[in-house]
Symmetry: D2
Subunit: 140 residues, 4 copies
């Protein structure tokens, strides 16, 4: 089985740039969020549904390596895929491209929590199945 990957096209507005004439470094975490949203949506497990089931997926840590600058009006490709899956946490890897040029790569680590208590909870079996398929691990 193949790893599931999301791919969002995104055009850079003036709002995202700074006076260096490039996309401000903090905006890449918003781009990563767009990749995660699309990844979950592609797995038929959109984040709104996760919240309706009483769960949350808060970010425990975030990391970005900046390789090259994105600029105003660039059409970026923002890609996301599940990088790692554990009992109560998962890692989403993200990369931002302009054509073949890698601009930034990084990841976020998330815990599955109860939305009320904000305490970590064990992932329900159906959710684990979905994420295992996203990793490209089949039941064969």
């Amino acid at each position: 089985m193949k790893r599931h990957e999301s791919n969002v096209a995104y055009r850079v507005p003036y709002a995202d740039t700074d006076q260096m004439g490039v996309v401000y470094y903090g905006n890449y975490l918003v781009y990563f969020e767009r990749a995660r949203n699309a990844l979950l949506r592609g797995l038929d497990l959109c984040y709104a549904e996760i919240e309706q089931r009483g769960f949350g997926l808060p970010v425990l840590s975030a990391h970005v390596d900046y390789k090259a600058a994105a600029r105003y009006d660039d059409v970026l490709e923002i890609r996301g895929w599940l990088g790692d899956l554990r009992a109560i946490r998962l890692r989403v890897d993200c990369a931002v491209y302009r054509g073949d040029t890698l601009l930034a790569i990084g990841h976020t680590v998330h815990a599955l929590v109860d939305r009320k208590t904000l305490r970590p909870v064990k992932m329900p079996a159906d959710m684990t199945d979905i994420f295992r398929r996203a990793l490209g691990e089949g039941d064969e």
Copy 2:
């Protein structure tokens, strides 16, 4: 009685600028929010408390006139005052200065609503009193 006015000092980060080398026009609405928060806080009626009492003050409209550009590392003065008070709505006027130079001026119009239903509600008497004092209208 004198009109109540808030005054927030704010230093512009790189994040707020765009590739023109000036503060992006949308950020002034965040500056106006800082002025409103400080205005309410100065009236001992902070927004968190308004929400706890079951009300909300959503924005009905916003307007900004841009006079001169703010730049990275500028220390701005963001001022706010109550411009108008009606039975179910109020207007907050805001201005952004760098020293004596007016950079932007504008306002937001808000309705008092029930937080649950989001429907307009009549302002409680104690809140009206506070806002009338903010306008500089006395009881005498």
Copy 3:
């Protein structure tokens, strides 16, 4: 001739929401920018080119009327069209829809300036022609 209109599809990320559970009011000015970019692009007069020709189109004023709330994961339609054209300034009207529901409507007013001096300049004839066609005004 028909008025030229741009239409950008935009999916709301978590980043755009606030603790009211709706899109923060300041983000609509970024949505309006997306509409303007698309409008200029559709006229074969993209903003990057305007800057290369030595001009700028700074915002003189902005206005938004908020009608209904946008929420996380909504797919919005952001529309823009030229509302008015004068010798040295123009107005772009924008509206944000979710399906048939109008969420916000407003406009920005811009001056054509020399990028170096930031002083207003008369619009070149070819640019005026393009904008007149955008208004739906024909030559005969």
Copy 4:
């Protein structure tokens, strides 16, 4: 000698929150920028001056560990200090507190580059001296 540390007080506006009712994770990179600006300013080496001397300090990587949530109207303490200094790069460590509670900790790595070519350059001796003092390393 003592390590130099910056400390910026910052009140959280509604704009920084998301529908989880907490500060959106991407905003911490803006908070880190405020800490870096204040750190450089405290060393009499403000970023505007670095740019005037023809240099830039672009971000090579950024990392944030999230420990607890910041909320609307919180007054945060954003602290920054030089974590590491090499010939052509440096690391700034940052932490965000609410009172005694650590909310987030992380760092950014920067290269000193020529602003024109964007290529790494060796740090001038006077700059190295300033940064060595910031590390708490003395001359004797």
